[in-house]
């Protein structure tokens, strides 16, 4: 909200400088986000009276003005504007003064006539919105000549931009802010605003009455202004509106808006002639009812919307916006002025649903005090009459504003517990400044009367907050909580995530965090069949863009996108990325979240290194990384041949941990690789974090007393037979002394038949009880060779 400091000063003393003022308001919860001087460059202009107007001797399109800036100061000014009359008061920029756009005004020769400065338009002052006609800005009659224009127009002001929290609807008005200021600064006295409310009439002339057919409108008042003359409002009123962030429109509309800004009660002016009947009924909408609102849009309603109707037809959307048919126009002769109270949630709902955030709806959604209905109406009608907009035609009302106060108790104990002081006298002093009073003086517990303007204060804790924030939070001395019931646990999940992070980082991976939402295309690019649940991601109902419109069912799209982005922006080296995070699987009404670990590795475009090709990543180096991560949590990961829709059919592995399929490691399908225009192969893995969370215990071996004996075995395998299968076979056949088997060579080429591979293993034999003799090992190893040959394996 924009708050004019000048206007605020009319309502309350401001006893400190503006910076201190802004800081203390901010500290107490009313954040001053900015302070601005209106049209700061505009300087040096004076008000002046136009004494004479003559046509320029040689230029028919120019006028020579004789102006009087009082105090004997007279000048001649040339203007092309045609809207001036003798006697008008205008802003005059003498030579040396400065326009809003920073231009310095000089003396100018117009074909022999010297113009001493210039008379100014609203635009030159920097306020084009207040212009009501083409030409020079004519100031309000009665403005004394010779005054600084900044002062005369109320531009000698500071505009505070204040952010009001949603619980403080009472601060969406000048009087509300003034009340708060008086509470924050004990030395600041409120200047009372007590409008004289003329007595309510029994009826309005030529108007049948008001019917309230919905409890969400408890109180509705309607005033009449007759013999209406629609004109611009006074210039100073227009400036004030503009500085408060609203556009001036006409005397009637400006009066309603000024009053809303002043006391927070939204008002609506109907052109009486635009009402279908001489009555108003407030009721719920019927489904399908329509209205053309003031912003020129057709609105269709549901039962939940609250309408102002006349003769059975909607004429306005209660608390949100009026209809176009009854809009004030130049021909309006009778204004019916609505001042009513509507229930917050009801208005909030309609305004949010229709996307209609009007100033009125904004205030109603944050609660408007029903006791403002009458004063707002009185002030607005008074203002209209005083501006000559029309004559007072009486007012009527229906309903009841309810209770003016309600009671909330505050105990010394709770105050002490929360803000470390239980001083109820101190509390009472602060609360009184907020307009909250008390009758009794019990030392331990006090009952306070909360005014209806403060619906946010309903429980004891609310009172504690009021006391604490006005007293100042900085008076509380920080201390650690005294009792520790248990130690803090980072949990196994966090330990698992940390193991993944630190192991992967140490192996050269960069940790990434990608969006949990991805594009549908990035998922379909992975070619999941319809039967795969990953093909059907859960969609956002209101995404920001299609690129982030569905929840990821796998970490792969985010990782691939990140890798592509790096490649496309010129990254030439290897890419190793790892991410841990949730994937989301839709299961009927529910969404299952599964914690995964995923990675993406590309050897990169430039793999040259002083160490040659050994540094280049491939499926097997990545396998080692994944195994290391699982080993860091005491888990052994086994790879077996497998498949994934987006995996290379010959280079895809399933990962088995604790006997269960835990995920995959693969090279991206060449078809997709070329679709992405990748410069090299891409390796991807994605595994469940669950086994890592369950794991965590390091596994240690037994210390052996006797040395091992090593033997090698070398054999020829059909291509496609996995080394791990042969290794398992050896394990199964080698007898009890086999301690370990390690594959140390894979060879194809010269000496090996086409379509076959030579595999060589190193076997470690050990007897835990004694030193094995060579001859014992030879016998065992020989037996193994025989058994392998019996299985049809060709040894070398």
């Amino acid at each position: 909200m924009l708050v004019s400091l000048n206007w605020l000063r009319e309502l309350v003393d401001i006893p400190v400088d503006i910076e201190t003022f802004a800081k203390r308001l901010t500290d107490t919860g009313t954040e001053v986000e900015g302070i601005e001087e209106p049209v700061p460059l505009f300087r040096g202009a004076l008000t002046a009276k136009v004494d004479t107007i003559e046509i320029h001797p040689s230029r028919q399109d120019l006028f020579v003005l004789g102006i009087d800036a009082s105090g004997g100061r007279r000048a001649v000014c040339i203007t092309a504007a045609r809207n001036l009359r003798e006697g008008d008061i205008v802003p005059w920029g003498p030579p040396g003064s400065i326009l809003a756009n920073g231009t310095e005004i000089t003396t100018r020769d117009f074909e022999g006539v010297i113009s001493e400065g210039m008379v100014l338009s609203a635009e030159e002052i920097g306020l084009p919105e207040i212009a009501d006609e083409f030409g020079i800005l004519r100031l309000d009659p009665g403005t004394p000549p010779g005054e600084d224009v900044r002062k005369a127009l109320g531009l000698d002001d500071a505009i505070l931009e204040i952010s009001i929290t949603p619980n403080r609807g009472d601060l969406l008005s000048m009087v509300g802010i003034a009340r708060e200021v008086a509470a924050v600064f004990p030395e600041a006295a409120l200047k009372p605003l007590a409008p004289v409310i003329p007595p309510r009439a029994e009826s309005l002339e030529a108007f049948r009455g008001i019917t309230l057919d919905d409890p969400d409108c408890p109180y509705y008042a309607l005033g009449a202004i007759d013999n209406v003359q629609i004109k611009p409002s006074p210039v100073t009123a227009r400036v004030r509106l503009l500085l408060s962030g609203m556009r001036p429109i006409s005397n009637v509309v400006d009066a309603t808006n000024l009053v809303m800004l002043l006391i927070g009660q939204p008002l609506h002016a109907f052109d009486s002639a635009g009402l279908p009947d001489s009555e108003i009924t407030v009721r719920s909408a019927r489904k399908g009812e329509m209205i053309l609102t003031l912003d020129g849009k057709t609105r269709i309603f549901e039962e939940a919307d609250l309408l102002i109707t006349s003769g059975g037809k909607p004429i306005g959307l209660a608390g949100v916006m009026g209809g176009e048919e009854s809009e004030i126009s130049g021909s309006t002769s009778r204004v019916l002025l609505e001042s009513a109270n509507f229930q917050s949630i009801r208005i909030s709902r309609t305004s949010r649903k229709l996307g209609l955030p009007s100033e009125a709806a904004y205030r109603f959604a944050r609660f408007v005090d029903p006791f403002k209905v009458e004063p707002a109406l009185a002030i607005a009608m008074d203002l209209m009459v005083s501006w000559g907009a029309g004559v007072f035609g009486g007012w009527i009302a229906s309903g009841d504003p309810g209770c003016a106060t309600r009671k909330v108790t505050l105990s010394s104990g709770l105050l002490e517990k929360i803000i470390s002081t239980g001083d109820l006298d101190m509390a009472t002093t602060i609360l009184r400044r907020l307009g909250i009073t008390t009758a009794d003086t019990d030392p331990l517990k006090r009952v306070y009367e909360i005014p209806s303007a403060r619906p946010d204060i309903s429980i004891e804790e609310d009172l504690v907050e009021e006391v604490a924030r006005i007293r100042g939070y900085d008076l509380i001395k920080p201390a650690l909580p005294p009792v520790l019931h248990s130690t803090g646990d980072i949990t196994d999940r966090m330990r698992a995530e940390r193991a993944v992070r630190s192991t992967a980082m140490a192996r050269g991976y960069s940790e990434v965090i990608t969006y949990s939402f991805v594009s549908p295309a990035s998922i379909s690019a992975l070619r999941f069949p319809d039967t795969d649940i990953r093909s059907r991601p859960v969609a956002l109902s209101n995404p920001l863009s299609v690129d982030i419109s569905v929840l990821r069912t796998t970490l792969i799209p985010g990782l691939v996108q990140a890798a592509l982005k790096n490649i496309r922006s010129g990254w030439r080296g290897p890419i190793r990325m790892i991410e841990t995070g949730m994937v989301f699987i839709g299961k009927g009404e529910e969404v299952e979240e599964i914690l995964k670990m995923g990675g993406c590795v590309c050897p990169g475009m430039d793999t040259r290194s002083p160490w040659g090709e050994q540094a280049v990543d491939d499926l097997h180096s990545v396998a080692s990384d994944v195994m290391a991560i699982f080993a860091s949590r005491g888990k052994t990961l086994k790879l077996v041949p497998g498949s994934e829709p987006f995996g290379h059919s010959g280079k895809t592995a399933r990962a088995i941990v604790d006997g269960y399929d835990t995920g995959y490691l693969l090279e991206l399908k060449p078809e997709i690789e070329s679709e992405f225009e990748l410069p090299s192969a891409m390796y991807l893995f994605e595994l469940d974090m669950e086994p890592l969370i369950r794991g965590g215990n390091a596994v240690f071996g037994e210390v052996r007393k006797y040395p091992p004996v090593y033997r090698d075995i070398s054999l020829i395998a059909e291509e496609g037979v996995c080394a791990s299968d042969i290794l398992e076979l050896i394990r199964g056949l080698a007898g009890p002394f086999l301690e370990n088997v390690r594959l140390f060579d894979v060879y194809t080429g010269k000496g090996i038949p086409e379509g076959k591979r030579s595999l060589a293993f190193s076997l470690a034999y050990r007897d835990p009880e004694k030193t094995l003799r060579d001859e014992d090992v030879d016998r065992t190893h020989g037996r193994l060779r025989e058994l392998l040959m019996e299985k049809g394996i060709k040894l070398r």
């Binding site: 917050s344 470390s420 939070y473 992967a504 790892i578 160490w611």
Partner: protein, 347 residues
């Protein structure tokens, strides 16, 4: 005896001249074998001791042992001399370029937000807070209603929400885990909730996905002072020095009273009016906090007449930006390696 003495002199003299002319370890080894080996000259003399008259044997034995010991000593000395020379020769003839890049993969890189989360969790764990988790896809009750934000409440405007079908939504804050944890564990309770949160917002300082760290403490007789104590201890640890803190009134539907915490600008300490980080104010907003609203305790099944507590929420991304001096939040989630892996040597 005479013969022995003579032999000793002779052997000694030959040994000395041979050893002096030995140039490398191999030659020295040959000399050792020739004189002191199993069939060496000194060894043969020792074998002849038995042939001497018994009264001469002790003296002769002593002389021979002395001879052997002194020869051993001379050989050892000569050996180490030689060795030193050879090692020196090897060192002076060899060189490697120590500035070559290290072999094997360079270190990767932690993500700044994950790193800050880890540090923050450790700090709060040291104050007795345990990590708690909750779903990222939430229902309206836990994200809003249970936190004292009824439907159509204007406070919902504070958080623009992503909705899914079936009245599910992406959590807009980590606060829903408060109610879930209270229901699960009851009081007393100390939890922190690190995690992803989502709001329909995107600019330089807002990302549709970001990270929060929520905290909740429920116990008997808990005060604002305790909340301030915990958060100031945290701020001082995470930024590595004691920072001034200040508190301002604020509003959150789920706390009462509600506050904002600012700490002294970590970059300029308020001394630079044109500081980019604090915009010259000298203060940085780091957390929203307050005493847990009794309605929220009730929603979590905790009796607010016996227990009270406090809660806070802070943006981990923001703290990472402040700590590492970064100014665009969105780059956090693009996986840009020039940003993430600026220390890696792998470009």
């Amino acid at each position: 005896m005479g013969i022995i003495a003579e032999d000793v002199r002779r052997i000694r003299s030959v040994f000395e001249s041979e050893l002096a002319s030995a140039g490398n370890l191999d030659e020295i080894q040959k000399i050792r074998v020739r004189f002191l080996g199993r069939k060496g000259e000194v060894t043969s003399l020792l074998k002849r001791l038995g042939a001497l008259p018994p009264e001469e044997r002790p003296e002769a034995g002593r002389v021979l042992n002395e001879l052997r010991d002194s020869m051993e000593e001379d050989i050892s000395r000569k050996e180490s001399e030689c060795e030193g020379k050879e090692v020196a020769l090897r060192e002076s003839g060899e060189w490697t370029d120590v500035t070559l890049p290290g072999r094997g993969r360079p270190w990767g890189a932690f993500h700044p937000v994950a790193q800050i989360a880890q540090e923050a969790i450790d700090i709060f764990a040291s104050m007795g807070f345990s990590v708690a988790y909750g779903p990222e896809v939430e229902d309206d009750f836990h994200n809003f209603e249970g936190l004292n934000i009824p439907p159509h409440h204007p406070a919902r405007d504070m958080q623009d929400t992503f909705y899914l079908e079936n009245s599910l939504l992406l959590r807009t804050h980590t606060s829903p885990v408060e109610v879930r944890s209270m229901k699960k564990w009851g009081a007393p309770l100390r939890i922190i909730v690190p995690g992803k949160t989502f709001r329909r917002d995107s600019d330089q300082t807002h990302s549709p996905m970001f990270h929060q760290l929520e905290g909740l403490l429920v116990d008997e007789n808990i005060s604002l002072a305790h909340l301030m104590g915990c958060l100031e201890a945290f701020a001082n640890r995470i930024f590595g020095r004691n920072l001034a803190a200040r508190y301002r009134g604020s509003y959150f539907p789920f706390t009462e009273p509600s506050l904002e915490m600012d700490v002294e600008c970590v970059v300029c300490s308020g001394k630079n009016p044109s500081c980019r980080i604090c915009k010259g104010t000298g203060w940085l907003e780091i957390s929203g906090l307050g005493m847990t609203h009794p309605n929220v305790l009730r929603a979590g099944g905790i009796d607010p007449t016996r227990y009270n507590g406090f809660a806070w929420g802070m943006g981990l991304d923001r703290i990472a930006m402040l700590k590492y001096g970064l100014n665009d939040l969105r780059v956090f989630f693009e996986g840009d390696l020039t940003f993430l892996n600026s220390t890696g040597g792998d470009r």
